[in-house]
């Protein structure tokens, strides 16, 4: 959550993405640059079986794996379906569209790039009650601020 209103974009594919496609797409986005914050969304892939008679047993899942983005390793904890971006300015959106078109050119499904407001701009009363006054505003509304592992920082070229 920042005071200045930065433009935001959302990348929505018609299908859930495989980890290698995500890796390819994110690396292409990092090349475009101008990204302040990024959140990758989708249904969670838990480490253990959450419900039922097998509850608590390990859940090996081929799509829960580490991908390499920029100069960092990222552990995918979700099956990626949506990517939300906060950009320095609107001029980067054209580059993002181009990058997405390039990655999805050979796929048999489409992927849309939308512009709008997709990140929480102000903490709500519930956020205050849940996380207190000192919650990290950078990640509030994107992930649970109580999570121990913080955001992954990918160094830009500036």
């Amino acid at each position: 959550m920042t005071d200045a209103i930065y433009p935001q974009a959302r990348i929505v594919s018609a299908r859930f993405l495989r980890p290698d496609t995500v890796e390819q797409l994110l690396n292409r986005l990092v090349q475009v640059g101008g990204i302040l914050r990024m959140s990758i969304n989708g249904p969670s892939i838990p480490t253990t079986v959450p419900y039922g008679p097998a509850r608590g047993k390990p859940n090996p899942h081929p799509d829960r794996k580490v991908i390499h983005v920029g100069d960092q390793d990222v552990l995918l904890q979700v099956q990626v379906g949506t990517i939300i971006l906060e950009l320095e300015d609107e001029s980067y959106i054209a580059g993002i569209r181009e990058a997405v078109d390039e990655v999805f050119a050979e796929k048999d499904f489409t992927c849309a790039v939308q512009q709008g407001r997709y990140m929480k701009s102000q903490p709500t009363i519930s956020d205050y009650a849940k996380y207190g006054p000192d919650a990290d505003r950078e990640i509030l509304g994107l992930v649970d601020p109580r999570k121990k592992d913080g955001p992954i920082i990918i160094q830009g070229t500036k």
Partner: protein, 253 residues
């Protein structure tokens, strides 16, 4: 005049498919072969080859009370042997899966005996005696009621029926019980509750998009038959809704 069931209203292809599945006189098309042992592995209730655990002694060995209903109803094989009650549960993708929860319940009620189905928005469970369950499961899995990619055999953690499909066309499953192999065949690597299997169970190739759209029982305004396009279906549902709403006021048509 003898009663002749109509099974359901509608003039569309979807309505016709629904009637076809429900009608017990219509033989369901067999799409794949799955062995009895594979079914037992998928269900995960007992080890293959193990005896059926029982909930009560066989009916022949116990004293039955003098009851007119018991004289009319023939017990199923499982009930006769005193089997435990066990279940199978399915999740069907909204992207043109060949069956869906309500439809499954109707179909099973017309076709099977001694069952207790539970219908929810995204999943449908059917409970019955273990021996009968294995027989019914075989029919549910081998026939056109199941598609390897868009139907999931999921005892728990069913999330996925209303989500986008994965890149390879499989329905999302956070436990990834079934995996689409390089050879295009779907194999279950975990049983329905998510415990890894000793060996993978192959259930064949996913059906193609055209077949699914021809055989689906789901109305879908994006890419399929829209519900609003089936006037007869709408008229019937509106009539039932209206009669139910006015019930307390003695409805007269």
């Amino acid at each position: 005049m003898a009663y002749k069931p109509q099974f359901g209203p509608g003039t569309s292809k979807v309505a016709e498919n629904r009637r076809k599945q429900m009608n017990p006189k219509q033989k369901l098309e067999k799409m794949r072969d799955v062995t009895d042992e594979d079914i037992v592995l998928l269900l995960g209730h007992r080890a293959p080859g193990a005896a059926y655990p029982t909930a009560h002694p066989p009916l022949a060995e116990q004293q039955e009370p003098d009851c007119p209903i018991r004289k009319i109803v023939t017990p199923t094989e499982g009930a006769k042997a005193g089997d435990r009650v066990r279940y199978i549960q399915f999740a069907d993708s909204m992207f043109f899966a060949p069956c869906q929860p309500y439809q499954r319940t109707y179909t099973e009620m017309y076709r099977f005996r001694g069952i207790d189905p539970g219908t929810l928005s995204g999943r449908q469970i059917v409970e019955c005696r273990e021996r009968d369950l294995e027989k019914y499961s075989k029919e549910l899995i081998e026939t056109e009621l199941l598609d390897a990619a868009r139907t999931g055999i999921r005892g728990a953690t069913v999330h996925g029926h209303s989500l986008r499909l994965a890149e390879n066309g499989m329905m999302f499953d956070m436990l990834q019980r079934s995996v689409l192999g390089e050879d295009g065949i779907v194999r279950y690597v975990k049983n329905q509750i998510g415990e890894p299997l000793d060996r993978a169970v192959a259930i064949g190739k996913p059906l193609d998009e055209k077949w699914l759209k021809d055989h689906t029982t789901i109305f879908h305004s994006l890419g399929g038959t829209a519900y609003r396009d089936d006037k007869e279906y709408i008229e019937y549902v509106q009539r039932i809704h209206s009669l139910r709403t006015k019930y307390g006021f003695m409805p007269k048509e």
